[in-house]
Each structure stands twice: as structure tokens, then as C-alpha cells.
């Protein structure tokens, strides 16, 4: 594979677009949530301010190397996932580094950041951080199940692991989307999606007062800023994967933005409506609802 240096600026551009989009979109969605609660809500640019503020904090402490590297892992995981998946279908330019690997790479790279973050949180020495990690890992691994099966279903359905080929197979009208060709798989994947977004009802991991926001409880200043950056990139990267697998991909940036927004909205909607699950409840939820639906989807193919 000949490497094209032009890919690097393109990648940075993708990153820039996604980050800004993420910052704005999350703010807007938060605002929508506030409106549902009859509040005015945050300003749409509030995320930028918070980010800048955290980058500009003057003092910081460190608990050790892994603590220091945790957010780096986290952000690398987010950026990596984004760049390993072709963002815009049919465009060499926005395919970024997807030549390095296929669907499986994306599937497993998700854990890169999680693992690094968990390690960093662990080194903070805070028992609540560990408690949060324990909950998070328990929940995420359970949520991962329907997703993994759904992904495999899709791969089986299209007999390929290549994102471009999967998206290509869904072209030609929205009825060709996996959403319609295999609704069960998509349903299972969406159940998993809720879990992976760490929003209510699956947010006991970061229960704010019980275990002061769990894993990142010791993180602050620039560390926190990195994690915030990631929080605006990573979900979108995940949404890109979903989009490509189940919703026909995105042929252009506007299409991308609309689909990303709608997908994000799903989890926000659910979060506004439902109260919190305990961890074992959410594990059971994924096992009892997510996995069987996924299995039906798998057998459907």
C-alpha cells in the first residue's frame, strides 16, 4: 500500500469537522433535553467554553504514568476509531486510514480507549474510580454482545468485512438499508447503542453523587479536556460505524450530519424518558432483550 501524505491533512480535516460537529450537536441535543424539562438549557456554544476552560486550567496533579496516559489512550481510541472507518462513502479523501483494516479493526479498536481510560482511572488510586470501571466494564461488555452479533450478522449478510462493500450493498434507496433488510439485527444493535452511549438509563457508571462520576473522578484540567474532546469525537465515530453498517452509510457531509444527529437523538430520547438501571439490571436487560433479538437477526440472514 503506497502511503499518500495527503491523507494526513485530510484526516485532520475530518477530525476538525467531526469535533466541531460533535461539540455543537451534543450541546443542541442537551438543549433539547433541557427544553423537554422546560428549561432554557445551555448555550449552544457552551461546550466550546468548557473545553477551553479546562485546557486553560493552571494547576494539575498526576497520580502516575498510567494516570497521565489514560486520557491519551482514550482520545487515541476515539480518533483512531474515527480514522479507521471510512467517514463518507465513496470518497477516497474521507476514507482516511481505513486501508489499515476492516470492520473487525473498528470493532476491537473501540476497546482501546476504554482499556486505557480504565487503567488511568485505576492508577488514580481512587476506589470510586475502580468501582466505576467495574460497573462500566460490566455494562459495556454486556452491551457489546448484541452489537457483536449484529455486526457479524451484517457481515454474514453481505459476505464481507469491508466497510465500503457493506455500504455499497445498501445503496439504491433506503429500503436497501440493513435497517429494512434485517430489522432485528438493527434493533439489537440499537439496544447495544443505548448501552454504549452511557446515557440514562445506563449511566449508573458515572453516578455523580454516589461514586463521584466514577472513573474520571480524579481527572481534571487538561486531562478532563482531552476526555471531553473524546466525548465529542468517539460517539460520532461509533455512529459512523452504525451508519455504515445499518443505515446505508453517508454519501456526503450533510447526509452524514443528519444521520448522526438522528442516531444521537435516539439515545437522548431514551435517556430523557427512562430512569436509571442498576448495573445488574442493565446486564440482564442486554442479555434478555438484546441478545435474543440479535440471535433472531442472525438466524434471519
Amino acid at each position: 500500500m503506497e502511503f499518500d501524505w495527503i491523507k494526513i491533512p485530510y484526516a485532520l480535516l475530518t477530525l476538525f469537522i467531526v469535533l466541531n460537529y460533535g461539540l455543537l450537536m451534543t450541546a443542541i441535543i442537551q438543549k433539547m433535553g433541557a427544553r423537554a424539562g422546560r428549561r432554557y438549557g445551555i448555550r449552544f456554544y457552551q461546550n466550546y467554553i468548557d473545553l477551553i476552560k479546562n485546557y486553560s486550567m493552571r494547576s494539575k496533579i498526576t497520580h502516575g504514568y498510567m494516570f497521565y496516559l489514560g486520557p491519551v489512550f482514550r482520545l487515541t481510541g476515539g480518533i483512531g476509531l474515527l480514522l479507521f472507518v471510512p467517514t463518507i462513502y465513496g470518497s477516497e479523501m474521507w476514507s482516511n486510514f481505513s486501508f489499515s483494516g476492516d470492520l473487525i479493526l473498528a470493532l476491537y479498536f473501540v476497546f482501546f480507549g476504554t482499556l486505557g481510560m480504565a487503567l488511568g482511572a485505576g492508577e488514580s488510586g481512587h476506589p470510586f474510580a475502580a468501582l466505576g470501571v467495574s460497573r462500566g466494564l460490566s455494562q459495556v461488555t454486556a452491551a457489546e454482545l448484541p452489537f457483536a452479533i449484529a455486526v457479524f450478522t451484517v457481515a454474514l449478510q453481505y459476505q464481507t468485512l469491508n466497510f465500503n462493500e457493506i455500504v455499497a450493498a445498501q445503496q439504491g434507496g433506503f429500503l436497501n438499508w440493513t435497517l429494512f433488510t434485517n430489522p432485528f439485527a438493527v434493533a439489537a444493535a440499537m439496544i447495544a447503542f443505548l448501552g454504549m452511549m452511557m446515557r440514562s438509563p445506563f449511566d449508573v457508571v458515572v453516578a455523580p453523587q454516589e461514586i463521584p462520576i466514577g472513573p474520571p473522578t480524579e481527572y481534571h484540567s487538561a486531562y478532563l479536556a482531552l476526555m471531553q474532546t473524546n466525548r465529542n469525537i468517539f460517539p460520532i465515530a461509533k455512529i459512523v460505524v452504525y451508519m455504515n453498517l445499518f443505515f446505508g452509510g453517508a454519501g456526503s457531509w450533510p447526509e452524514f450530519m443528519i444521520k448522526a444527529f438522528l442516531l444521537y437523538l435516539v439515545s437522548a430520547l431514551v435517556g430523557v424518558v427512562f430512569p436509571r438501571f442498576r448495573v445488574e439490571q442493565s446486564i440482564r436487560f442486554f442479555l434478555i432483550w438484546g441478545v435474543p433479538v440479535a440471535i433472531i437477526g442472525l438466524l434471519w440472514v
Binding site: 500500500m1 494539575k60 496533579i61 497521565y68 486520557p71 482499556l115 468485512l161 441478545v291 442472525l298
Partner: protein, 1042 residues
């Protein structure tokens, strides 16, 4: 050579001569005794040599100048000569061993001993049934006398019980003899044979009465209470004679008179023998007294040989080889064990821990139990192989099952005992072990090895004792007094040299295994440099295991394969047992392994169909109706080694409790033996169907469930090494799954797993072991925060867990990638779901491992710890480098294998196109993944560093704590029951069903034994009941059968 009659003359003459001596000249008397026995041994040996080496035929000795059947004649052939030698040597060694006692009791006791030996020789040689009776009576009476040569006052009651039984036996025997005589008109066995027909009618009954008393002499269940009492109370040196010599002679007598009865009586012997074998082994399970246990074991072994005698028609030419092998093994080992028992003060099995003081005796004990269990290279092993083959070929599966069941029970108590010896506390009074006893025991052990060599030569296979690898391993026994570091160097050099010498002959799959075993083993051995002192016993065991593994991968014949399998099992058992708390785990390891090995031998035997062995590749040609059964048996055997679900309960303990440098060996290397077996099996047999179900499909399920349960259990372990052990179970499940997919990528993935698992599991076991060695605990929640003190170990574990979890960019990901590509090829969707479920769970335990040990709060008592010792770190660093290299360039190892697999699965191979690896479905570029990930990581890190360079380093308690402060590190480290919510959600999956199941079986067996042994009330009259009940019962059964 002098006439064999001189055996009787010399011995008897010496006995009479002793009477002429003064009472006080006991030393002289003993000298004469020993001399006579030695002379007898020499004569027997001479005859054996003439028969065996020069091929002379049997000699007949006539008495009274008259030909048989009119006068008594004796015969010495090959088996007779061998047995005579055995008897005389046993007598000689016992005479030496019990010298003190003999001197104390005077010349009469020695005369009794001599006469006993003479009588045994008579039983062996004579061809006259009444003469047999006379000699038996001599044996009985002298036994009555010899029992008294004991310090145990209870011997007296054992003696009278025996005499009472002997009376009943002699009455029955006499009646039997006279009616047989009446029916056949002769007392000579050879002349009874001809008019066999005359045995019809009353004659059959006469033979029955002739046979049964002789059977009773073999102490069959249930008519054997008296024998156990004798074994328990007599002087062990005499018990040695009773077990080894008397038992052999009685067996031979039965074998002789079977000439009269003919083949139709075979099943009777087999039935009686097997009943004794199985029941006695069960009874022995709950026995705490060493000598009585040996008694049960003797009874059992005799029963087994009797069963073989019953099958002698079937066994044909190999009968002598088999029965002889079993007999020699039993006799030498049992004699040796009885000698050992004299060196032990206490009578409980646990008292044998005292023997540990002398490594030679440990070696002897190990030799004996290996002989008894039929492990290579001892005669019993060859015998077992032949026997099972012969029985399977003629469809006597039931017999094989019973024999193997009994054998596993026997191995159970023997190896448990060995565990006691190695691990139980020693008594406080050291006291020296008498030199004479040690020498005699060692002589017995050497005799065992000699017999092993002879049987190897006789076997018609490659003699195991002439295999370079094995000899190299055994050579370490001789240099065990060298310092450990020197031996380590020799071992490493030897393994590398062996690899260098043999690698050219390997095909790519063998090459992978060869590198892992030999080179990989050498790398792990680097860690062994950290041990000081001599480390006695480690190197022979380890090298035995490696030798077995090295022999396994090149085995072409089923026999070689199986022998190698047993060798590596034995070696690894000794190795595992070295761990501090390994006793119960090593036991369950060896039991599961042996049971698995039995499945393998049965599978091979079934496949062989009468051949004594076959080329492994001939597995492909097994008849279609047998193939599934062969497949199942072999698969069970191999999967026991890889610890699939249900058969896994041995693994966690065995791997976790082993020593620091042993855990990586058994986990990283030994487990691969099972995989190799499965590879061999699948590549030759493909996927047979049973009742329309593809067996690989079943295997797929097993693999998937194993992966799930292994990972799940791992997540809930508190013990770091146990966690890794369960993780191994899960990983092996993946590999089995991959193989069972039966497609190109599945296999490639499995082979990649082999390499990966070796690297990262060895690495993790070493680093965790090193840490555990420093901290003095394996419980993770007792550690914590060690990252500051052991950064290198942390780094190693970090790399390890990233690799295990399959997160890019490290090599574990390659495995996952291939896995997904492989299953796209396959149609088996349901088991795949299971394997999906198991995947993410790996994260749970991996994170737990690194978090609980290295992150979180540092404990007070660990504040001054340092990085594990240099030599433990060396291999770890090598592994890290290897892992990174393999992550970037998996093609190095896999490309050749991929090509090789094209031969088996032409479709679905990988395309190695420069940096890019493509399959039919997807693509993957390890280098680019590494570069991109590295690039992003570096950029982000730089960013953080730029902003954050002046971060204040704080200490462990500088954490926010709701405006409070933490109490102590112990209460601030969240590590125990880490995944409590998970446990709450899926508790029902974590129930230890398998453990309970096997535990239940063990319990049930013990309860049965505990209940059944009350049968032996100790009352002589009850024993008579047993005896007569045995006779009558047998009679009724035979009547019913007719």
C-alpha cells in the same frame, strides 16, 4: 548351567544346615541364608540368560529316574526362569532388609524364610498338582511363621486367621486334587491336558474345586480379609515376599492349571480378577494405613493379572509379554514400596513425608508408583498398551472400561500418597534412615528401570529408554546434585541443541510446536536462573515433560504418540507438584490426565483393530462405523489436556499453584500438547458423523462453551494465577473452536493462538508469578499500587493484556481478525453466538488483573518491594519484543503455515500482499494499524505534555474523598469481588457444577469404600464365611451360566 533342582537343594540344604549352627551364631546363619538365596538367584539368572539370550528351550527335570506322569517332574522355561529370579531376588533383598529382625529371632526364622522361598520355587517349577499342594502348604505354614517376624503384636492374630483360612483352602484343594486325579487318571498337569474331555461331568466340578482354592490363594475379593490383615501387621520385608513372590507363584500356578481346565475357564478368572481389581481399588481409596493400602493394591494388581491370565487364549503370543509386564511391574514396585514402608516410622500415609529427607527415596517411590500405574517407560506401560489393543480388537470394550476404571482409582490413591509424601509436614524426630533399607529399596528401583529397559527391548517398538530426548531428561537424575544454575545451563543448551538437530525434519505445523516447546521452553528456563541451591527434582521433571513434548510432535506411530503423551503427563505432574500448595491440584491433574490418556489408548486400540499400533496418518483409514467412536475417544483424551468445560477443574489449581517458572511452562507450553493432539486428530480423521451429527460440530459447541465459561470464571477469581489459569481454559476453547471450524482460517487462527497464547500467557504467568513471589501472596486484593515499585512488570502485564484482549494494535487482534474471517466461512451460527458472548468478558478479567495488582492503593507491607529478580524479568522482556514483532509481522510465522494449510483446505487462504493481509472477506494491515495508532497516540501525548508538563506529582492518598480522607490503603483499594454486579446478574452461570459433579463422584466412591470395607470385620470366622461364600457363589454363578 546347573540343574534347576539345585535351587531346591541349595535352599533346603541351607535351611537344614542352619539347624546345625549354634543358636548364637546368628550372623553366620544370616550369611548362609543370604548366600543360599544369592546362589539361587544366580542359578535362576543363569537359566533366564540361557533361555532369553541364547534361546534355549524349556528344560525338564525328572525325579526318581522315572518319566512323568509316574514321577514328579519339574520344568524351567523362560517364564519359570524369570519368575524364579524374581522370587529369589525378592527373597534375597528381603533377607538383607530384615536382617535385624532375623538376627533377633535366630536361625529358625531364617530357615523358615529359606523354606518359604524354596517352596515358592517349587510351585513355579513343578508340573504335578499334588506337588503344588505340598508346596502351597509349605508356603502357607511358612507364611504363618514369617508373619511373626514383626514388631506388631497384632501379627499373631493375623497369623491364626491365615492358618484358619489355609485349613479350609487345603481341605477344598485336596478334594479337588483327588477328584481331578480320579477323573483324569493322572496328577501331572501335562498328562491331564490330553484327556481333557474326561473333565466333563463330575470332572468339571473337580477342576472347579482345584481351581477355586488356588484362586483364593490369590486373595480375590471378597475372600481376602486375612491377606489384608497380614499385609498390615507383618514385617514389610515379608509382605514384600508375600506380595511379589507368593503372589507371582500363585498366579503362575493358576496359569499352569489352566492348561487342564482349558480356555472355557478363562472368563471365570477374568471375572474374579476384575472384581478384585475394581473393588480393591475402591476400598483402598479410604485406607489410611500404608501397609494395608499396599495390601489392597497388591490384591488389586493380582486381580488384574488374573484377569489377563483369563484372557490368555485371546492374547496369544503377547500373553507372556503382557502378563509378565504387569507382573514384573507389580512385583518390583510392591516389594519396593513395602521396603520403603519399613523406613517410615508412623503407619499413616501422611507419615511418609519423612522420606522426603532423602531424594533417592523420593525417586524410588516415584518409580514404584509409575510402575504400578502403568506409566512409561516401565513394563506395565507396554503391557497396558498391548492388552488394551488386544481386548479392543476383539470387542471386549466392557473389560477395557473396567480395567481402566480400576486403574484410574489406583492411580488416584497412589498419586495422592505421593502428594502426601511430597507435601505433608514431616515428623519432628528426624532420625537417620537405615542405610541397608535405603540400599535395598534402591536396588528394587533399579530393578524396575532394568525391567523397563528389557520390556522396551522386547516390545517391538522403539525402546523408550533409548530415545535421546528421554535419556537426556533422565540424565538429570544423575547430575541432580549439581548446582541449579549449572543444570539450567545444561538444560537450555540441550533443548536448543535438540531443536537445532531436529528442526529440519519438521513440517510447518510441527515447526510451530517445535519452536514453542524447545526454544520457548528454553526461554522460560531463563527465568529458572533465579533459583539458588540445587533445586533437586526440578530438572528431571521439567526435562521429562519437554522430552515428552518433543517426542509427541514427531511421533509417527500411535505407540510413540501415546508414550510421549504419558511421558509428558508424568513429567508435568512432578513439576506441578513442586508448587507449595499444589498437592490436591497436582492430584486432580494427574487423574484427569490419566483418564484422558486412557481414552486415548482406547481410541488408538479401537482404531488399530488388532494391530499393535499404526501410523498416525492411518487414522484416516479407520472403518466408517468405528471412526466416530475413535474420534470421540481421542477427542476426549486430547480435550482433557486442553481442559474443556466439564473436564477443566484440574487446570486452575494446577497452573496457579505451580512454581513461578513452572506455571508458564505448563500453561504456555504443556496445554499445546492437547491442541497438537486435536490437530493430528482432525487433520487425519476429518469430521466423522455419529447419528447424523458432525462431531466437529459438537466440538465447536464444546469449544465455544469452554471459551465462555473459562472467561467468565476468570473474571471472578481473586487469585491472580488462578485468573490466568481460567483465562487459559477460555483461550484453549477459542483454539478448539477454531480447529473445529474445519476451514483454512479457523486453523490458521488456532495456530496463531498457539503462538500468541504461548507468548502472552508465559509472559503474564512469569510477571504475575514474579510479583507474587515478591509480595508473598497471589490474592490480588492483597496487592495493589505496585506500578510505582515494579514499572517493568506493569509494562509487561499491560502489553500482555492488550495482546490477550485482542485490542489492536498488538498481535491478539490478528487472531480475532482471522477468527471473524473464519466464521464467515462457516455455517454454524449458534455456537458462534456463545463465542461472541465470551469475547468481551475477557476484558473483565484482564482489567481486573492489572488493576488489582498494579493500580489502586499500595499496601503498607509492600512499600519496600523491588522489581522481581533479574532472571525472571529477562524472558518477559524477550516476550515483549517477540509480541511486538509478531504483532507487526505475523507473516513471519504464519505465511508458511498458511501455505501448508492449502494442502488441507485449499480454499479460503490468506493473501499476503506486502503489508496488507487479505482474506476473501476483509483485509488487515498490521503495520499500518501500528503506525496509525502510534502516530495518533504520539500526537495526543505531545499535546497533553505541552499543556500539562508541570503537573504536580502527588502521593497515594491524595485523592478526593468527599472532602474526607481515606482510612488506610487496605480499605481504599477496591479489588475484592470486583465484578459484583456481574455476579449478581449471572450468578447461575457461575455455579461450580463441574466441580460439584466430580466432587460428587469422588465422594460417592469414598462413601462406597467406607461402607464396603466394614465387610472386613477382622473376625476369622467371618473370613471363612467370605471364603465359602466366594466358593458357593462362584459355584452357583457357574451353575446358572451353564
Amino acid at each position: 548351567m546347573v540343574s534347576p533342582i539345585y535351587l531346591i537343594v541349595i535352599t533346603l540344604g541351607a535351611a537344614f544346615l542352619l539347624g546345625l549352627l549354634s543358636e548364637r551364631r546368628t550372623e553366620l546363619a544370616h550369611f548362609i541364608t543370604v548366600l543360599a538365596l544369592a546362589a539361587g538367584g544366580l542359578v535362576s539368572f543363569g537359566w533366564l540368560w540361557i533361555m532369553a539370550a541364547e534361546g534355549a528351550s524349556a528344560v525338564e527335570i525328572y525325579t526318581a529316574g522315572t518319566k512323568p506322569p509316574f514321577a514328579i517332574n519339574l520344568r524351567v522355561g523362560l517364564p519359570e526362569a524369570a519368575l524364579l529370579l524374581l522370587i529369589y531376588l525378592t527373597g534375597l533383598m528381603s533377607a538383607i532388609h530384615m536382617k535385624d529382625m532375623l538376627l533377633r529371632k535366630g536361625r529358625r526364622a531364617m530357615a523358615v524364610l529359606l523354606i518359604a522361598i524354596m517352596a515358592l520355587a517349587g510351585i513355579i517349577m513343578t508340573r504335578d498338582i499334588f506337588n503344588i499342594f505340598v508346596f502351597f502348604e509349605l508356603v502357607a505354614i511358612s507364611t504363618g511363621g514369617m508373619v511373626l517376624l514383626s514388631d506388631d503384636p497384632r501379627a499373631l492374630s493375623a497369623g491364626i486367621k491365615y492358618l484358619i483360612i489355609a485349613q479350609v483352602i487345603s481341605i477344598l484343594l485336596l478334594v479337588g486334587i483327588i477328584f481331578t486325579y480320579q477323573a483324569t487318571g493322572s496328577l501331572n498337569i501335562d498328562f491331564m491336558k490330553t484327556p481333557e474331555l474326561a473333565l466333563g461331568g463330575g470332572g468339571t466340578l473337580a477342576f472347579f474345586l482345584l481351581l477355586v482354592p488356588l484362586l483364593v490363594e490369590l486373595k480375590p475379593f471378597p475372600a481376602n480379609g486375612w491377606a489384608l490383615d497380614i499385609y498390615q501387621s507383618a514385617h514389610p520385608a515379608f509382605s514384600a515376599i508375600l506380595s511379589a513372590a507368593t503372589g507371582s507363584a500363585a498366579l503362575f500356578a493358576v496359569d499352569k492349571i489352566m492348561d487342564i481346565g482349558g480356555a472355557s475357564w478363562g472368563p471365570v478368572l477374568t471375572g474374579v480378577g476384575l472384581l478384585s481389581f475394581v473393588v480393591s481399588n475402591i476400598l483402598a481409596l479410604v485406607q489410611k494405613n500404608d501397609r494395608r493400602l499396599l495390601g489392597y493394591s497388591s490384591v488389586a494388581q493380582t486381580g488384574l493379572i488374573l484377569a489377563v491370565v483369563g484372557q490368555r487364549e485371546l492374547l496369544g503370543e503377547s500373553y507372556l509379554f503382557i502378563a509378565g509386564g504387569l507382573l514384573i511391574g507389580h512385583a518390583v514396585a510392591k516389594a519396593g514400596l513395602f521396603y520403603l514402608s519399613d523406613l517410615v516410622k508412623g503407619r499413616m500415609l501422611t507419615n511418609w513425608a519423612d522420606l522426603r529427607r532423602n531424594p533417592l527415596l523420593v525417586f524410588a517411590f516415584a518409580t514404584f508408583i509409575a510402575m504400578l500405574s502403568g506409566l512409561p517407560p516401565f513394563p506395565g506401560f507396554y503391557a497396558k498398551w498391548e492388552l488394551v489393543h488386544a481386548l479392543m480388537a476383539s470387542g471386549k470394550t466392557g473389560l477395557v472400561v473396567l480395567i481402566l476404571f480400576g486403574a484410574i482409582l489406583e492411580a488416584g490413591y497412589l498419586f495422592r500418597w505421593f502428594g502426601y509424601l511430597m507435601k505433608r509436614p514431616q515428623s519432628n524426630t528426624p532420625g537417620t534412615l537405615p542405610l541397608r533399607g535405603v540400599l535395598v529399596t534402591m536396588a528394587a528401583a533399579l530393578a524396575g528401570w532394568l525391567a523397563a529397559y528389557i520390556w522396551g527391548e522386547l516390545s517391538g517398538y522403539d525402546n523408550l529408554l533409548s530415545q535421546t530426548a528421554l535419556l537426556f531428561a533422565l540424565g538429570f537424575l544423575l547430575i541432580d546434585w549439581f548446582p541449579a544454575k549449572l543444570k539450567n545451563t545444561i538444560a537450555i543448551a540441550g533443548m536448543l541443541a535438540f531443536f537445532w538437530q531436529s528442526y529440519t525434519g519438521y513440517d510447518p505445523i510441527q515447526m510451530i510446536f517445535g519452536i514453542i516447546i524447545l526454544v520457548g521452553g528454553a526461554v522460560i528456563l531463563l527465568a529458572s536462573y533465579h533459583e539458588r541451591g540445587q533445586r533437586i527434582g526440578f530438572y528431571p521433571s521439567a526435562l521429562l515433560m519437554f522430552a515428552g513434548l518433543a517426542m509427541l510432535i514427531v511421533a509417527e506411530q500411535s505407540f510413540q504418540f501415546f508414550a510421549a503423551w504419558e511421558v509428558l503427563t508424568l513429567g508435568s505432574y512432578f513439576l506441578i507438584l513442586r508448587g507449595k500448595n499444589a498437592e490436591p491440584h497436582a492430584l486432580s491433574y494427574i487423574l484427569f490426565s490419566l483418564a484422558g490418556a486412557f481414552a486415548i489408548i482406547a481410541g488408538f486400540a479401537l482404531a488399530a483393530q488388532g494391530q499393535a499400533g499404526f501410523k498416525i496418518t492411518a487414522l484416516a483409514d479407520v472403518a466408517a462405523d468405528l471412526a466416530p467412536w475413535v474420534f470421540i475417544l481421542l477427542a476426549i483424551g486430547f480435550m482433557t489436556k486442553t481442559a474443556v468445560i466439564g473436564l477443566h477443574i484440574w487446570l486452575p489449581g494446577a497452573h496457579a499453584e505451580a512454581e513461578t517458572d513452572v506455571s508458564p511452562m505448563v500453561s504456555g507450553i504443556l496445554l499445546k500438547a492437547g491442541l497438537f493432539g486435536i490437530i493430528v486428530l482432525l487433520s487425519n480423521m476429518g469430521s466423522p458423523e455419529l447419528y447424523g451429527v458432525k462431531l466437529t460440530y459438537v466440538m465447536l459447541w464444546i469449544g465455544a462453551l469452554t471459551a465462555l465459561m473459562g472467561n467468565l470464571m476468570a473474571a471472578f477469581q481473586e487469585d491472580a494465577k488462578r485468573l490466568l489459569a481460567y483465562s487459559s481454559i477460555g483461550q484453549m476453547g477459542y483454539a478448539i473452536f477454531g480447529l473445529a471450524l474445519m476451514n483454512h482460517l479457523g486453523w490458521l487462527m488456532a495456530l496463531m493462538f498457539v503462538i500468541n497464547h504461548y507468548i502472552y500467557k508465559s509472559m503474564l504467568f512469569l510477571s504475575v508469578g514474579g510479583v507474587a513471589k515478591r509480595t508473598g501472596t497471589k490474592l490480588m486484593y492483597k496487592m495493589g499500587g505496585l506500578i510505582t515499585l515494579m514499572p517493568l512488570s506493569f509494562f509487561v502485564v499491560l502489553i500482555g493484556i492488550i495482546a490477550v484482549s485482542g485490542v489492536p494494535p498488538l498481535s491478539g487482534f490478528g487472531g480475532r481478525w482471522m477468527f471473524y474471517n473464519a466464521i464467515l466461512d462457516s455455517e454454524n451460527r449458534l455456537p458462534m453466538i456463545i463465542i461472541f458472548i465470551s469475547g468481551p468478558i475477557a476484558f473483565l478479567y484482564l482489567f481486573r488483573l492489572i488493576h488489582a495488582i498494579f493500580l489502586g492503593q499500595l499496601k503498607d507491607e509492600h512499600r519496600k518491594l523491588k522489581e522481581p529478580s533479574f532472571w525472571i524479568m529477562v524472558p518477559q522482556v524477550i516476550y515483549v519484543v517477540l509480541l511486538l514483532a509478531f504483532a507487526v509481522l505475523p507473516g513471519m510465522a504464519l505465511q508458511k503455515v498458511d501455505t501448508f494449510l492449502n494442502g488441507m483446505f485449499p480454499e479460503g487462504g490468506l493473501n499476503w500482499d506486502g503489508l496488507l493481509i487479505t482474506s476473501d472477506y476483509g483485509y488487515w494491515s498490521p503495520v499500518w494499524i501500528m503506525v496509525v495508532t502510534g502516530g495518533i497516540f504520539a500526537a495526543v501525548f505531545m499535546l497533553l505534555l505541552a499543556i500539562n508538563r508541570k503537573a504536580q506529582k502527588v502521593k497515594q492518598f491524595n485523592i478526593v474523598y468527599s472532602a474526607e480522607r481515606p482510612y488506610r490503603p487496605e480499605t481504599t483499594h477496591f479489588a475484592w469481588n470486583f465484578f459484583a454486579p456481574y455476579r449478581k446478574a449471572i450468578w447461575f452461570l457461575l455455579l461450580p457444577i463441574a466441580t460439584r459433579f466430580w466432587g460428587g463422584i469422588t465422594e460417592a466412591l469414598h462413601a462406597t469404600a467406607g461402607f464396603m470395607r466394614r465387610f472386613y470385620t477382622g473376625d476369622a470366622q467371618h473370613y471363612v464365611f467370605h471364603l465359602l461364600g466366594f466358593v458357593v457363589g462362584l459355584y452357583l454363578i457357574l451353575l446358572g451360566v451353564q
